[in-house]
């Protein structure tokens, strides 16, 4: 059996081998373009330092975005949705059982009603 058979998805196909080749070519192109860049860029000089409108730059640890705060804006934007969905997860065992019962009623409605 040929290990490189593509997947037939019904309307197209997917072959990771081709993808990898394309990816490598793209990498090469990027490398080439990168080589065309400016040569006077120097590390560890004033060039790389951030400039915050003249404010004092805090040390690295405070600049670090904590994992718990990622996408703060996103959650803020969808506050209504998140309030609702968070209140669904009550952490109460009885509610878990209740959801199960409710879903069972829904299944009853579907199966008995439609079929």
């Amino acid at each position: 059996m040929n290990p490189f058979v593509p997947i037939d998805t019904g309307s197209g196909f997917w072959n990771p081998l081709i993808w990898v080749i394309v990816f490598i070519i793209a990498l090469l192109i990027v490398y080439v373009i990168r080589g065309l860049g400016r040569g006077d860029y120097k590390k560890n000089t004033g060039q790389t330092k951030p400039f915050l409108s003249g404010n004092v730059v805090e040390n690295d640890e405070q600049l670090h975005v904590k994992g718990g705060n990622v996408y703060w804006g996103f959650t803020e934007a969808f506050k209504g949705y998140y309030n609702k969905i968070k209140s669904m997860h009550t952490g109460d065992t009885r509610d878990y059982v209740l959801w199960f019962l409710v879903m069972m009623v829904v299944f009853f409605a579907v199966v008995l009603g439609v079929m």
Partner: protein, 518 residues
């Protein structure tokens, strides 16, 4: 050799069970001996499963009758239905068995160096073996009541393992929630078995599938089975036990529980496609649409909830919830599509995604475990800059997150694209939501990756060391599998997924293997 293959279905259960009974005795002798023994047993079982798989792919459905005069004597001459318990193994069963055994092996490798000083490890290994037995039994059996028994074994053993850290109140809480909900679910499964038995006086799945007539009672039994098994599989809005259990268990346990969840999903597939699948596929379309809807809900809730978690393990757990949604969508699309040709594609995607999900989520949990092991910390806000100290772990996490978010060329993409394509033909909106959720998941994990591993070192994490070799080996096994599955998806599909899908879409073969004579 031949007789080993003949009896391999029984041995697949008996050997780990024997080992589980012997482990408490062995652990009094020596710790290392016990670890090695468990590893060897699981490796041997895996080998046996591979042999059996080869045999099945070559010769078709395999059956094993317990206690009969011949392993293949399904029912005595005067009877039209089987009396004894029968193991019936088709492509899907052996596919799931391979998943379960792989995961159990990885979990054992991992835990042999994850746990050092904890007491109660002899029981831990016993229970790990028992979880394996439970999963494998659920997947091999062709008898409905037997399925229930193994379901209970799996849930009891998982519950005890989730509570392994008894000094953490959260672990106990999660275990209690898990056992309450799973025992209630299992009781409803038993009730459904009672209904079916009362009607047809049979317990064998094939015999029941042959005589099922879609009366009112059959529908009630279907509802009970479906509700209980989807709940065990963690489908929204019944998923809430899942993040608790996944998040609070020791990571090596968590991946076993992930596999157990997939075993429940196997139950859903078996019920929908085989037990109620004979010639009446049109009637199942409603169920299919329901499953698709629930799957979408699951994906959406899982991904969006993963965004707001503060704990690393819980984040991954919610991502796991989302991943379950994809498989359900695949199965549901296949049911809803009926005889249309994209049903097979959807089913392929769903079934393939089961394996991929176990690998991806398992790898992520193992990495989370490594972080917990090294830093004793699971709050995202207290972690950062680990890349310099834990190089291998960083790489594995990167592989895991790319795979779970469905980035090419890793395995998650291969199965997800099948699901997207087929659902697009059912209804484009479904597929669009699924793709968007996947992208959101990628965004979340990239950000988490950045804040955990990159960035400056935090002061309390200065003396973090790389984790021991055993854990790295376990992670490496999963990562290798992910890459192989990602690079050669067509090959994997042809060898192991296609037989499983064929088994699902032809229930008549399953029935005839039992009822078509000795």
């Amino acid at each position: 050799m031949n007789s080993i293959i003949t009896h391999s279905p029984a041995l697949l259960i008996a050997i780990p069970l024997f080992a589980a009974f012997i482990t408490p005795l062995l652990s009094r002798i020596h710790r290392r001996a016990r670890d090695g023994f468990v590893l060897i047993v699981l490796a041997a079982t895996e080998l046996l499963a591979l042999l059996l798989a080869q045999d099945i792919y070559a010769n078709g459905i395999r059956k094993y009758v317990f206690g009969a005069t011949l392993p293949s004597l399904t029912h005595p001459g005067t009877m039209s239905i089987p009396v004894r318990i029968i193991f019936e193994i088709d492509g899907l069963s052996i596919f799931m068995v391979l998943i379960s055994l792989t995961i159990a092996f990885v979990a054992t490798v991992y835990s042999s160096s994850f746990f050092k000083k904890e007491d109660g490890l002899d029981r831990y290994y016993t229970l790990l073996l028992l979880v394996t037995v439970g999963m494998v039994g659920m997947e091999l059996t062709g008898d409905l009541f037997n399925f229930f028994v193994f379901l209970e074994i799996t849930s009891i053993a998982s519950c005890a393992l989730i509570a392994f850290w008894v000094d953490r109140g959260e672990s106990l809480e999660a275990a209690f929630k898990y056992i309450v909900i799973s025992s209630i679910g299992a009781l409803f499964v038993l009730m459904a078995i009672g209904f079916l038995y009362g009607q047809y006086d049979a317990l064998n799945i094939a015999a029941l599938a042959n005589s099922i007539q879609f009366t009112f009672i059959d529908k009630v039994a279907l509802v009970l089975l479906l509700a209980a098994l989807t709940m065990k599989a963690g489908i929204a809005p019944m998923h809430m036990w899942l993040p608790d259990a996944y998040g609070e268990a020791p990571p090596s346990v968590t991946i076993a529980v992930v596999a157990a969840t997939q075993a429940s999903l196997y139950g859903v597939l078996r019920v929908c496609f085989t037990l109620y699948g004979k010639g009446l596929r049109l009637n199942m379309a409603a169920v299919g649409w329901t499953l698709v809807g629930l799957g979408l809900l699951t994906i959406f809730i899982g991904v969006t909830m993963a965004l707001v978690q503060r704990s690393l393990t819980r984040t991954i757990a919610f991502a796991a919830v989302g991943e379950i949604g994809y498989m359900v969508i695949g199965a549901g699309t296949a049911l809803a599509a009926g005889a249309q040709n994209f049903a097979t594609v959807a089913l392929k995607g769903g079934v393939f995604h089961i394996f991929n999900d176990v690998l991806d989520i398992g790898l992520l949990f193992l990495v989370a475990g490594a972080i917990i092991y090294a830093t004793k910390e699971r709050d995202l806000n207290n972690l950062g800059g680990l890349a310099k100290r834990m190089k291998y772990t960083t790489v594995f996490f990167l592989i895991g997150l790319l795979a779970v978010a469905g980035m090419p060329p890793l395995n998650g993409f291969a199965s997800k694209i099948l699901i997207y394509e087929s659902t697009y033909q059912l209804n484009p909106i479904i597929s669009i939501i699924a793709i968007l959720s996947s992208i959101l998941l990628l965004a979340i994990f990239v950000k988490i990756f950045y804040s955990l591993f990159l960035g400056p070192e935090l002061p309390h994490l200065r003396d973090v060391k790389e984790v021991p070799k055993g854990m790295l080996v376990a992670m490496a096994i999963l990562a290798t599998l992910i890459i192989i599955f990602g690079l050669f998806p067509g090959y994997v599909l042809q060898t192991i997924v296609d037989p499983a899908v064929a088994a699902l879409s032809n229930p008549t073969n399953y029935i005839n293997a039992i009822l078509g004579g000795a």
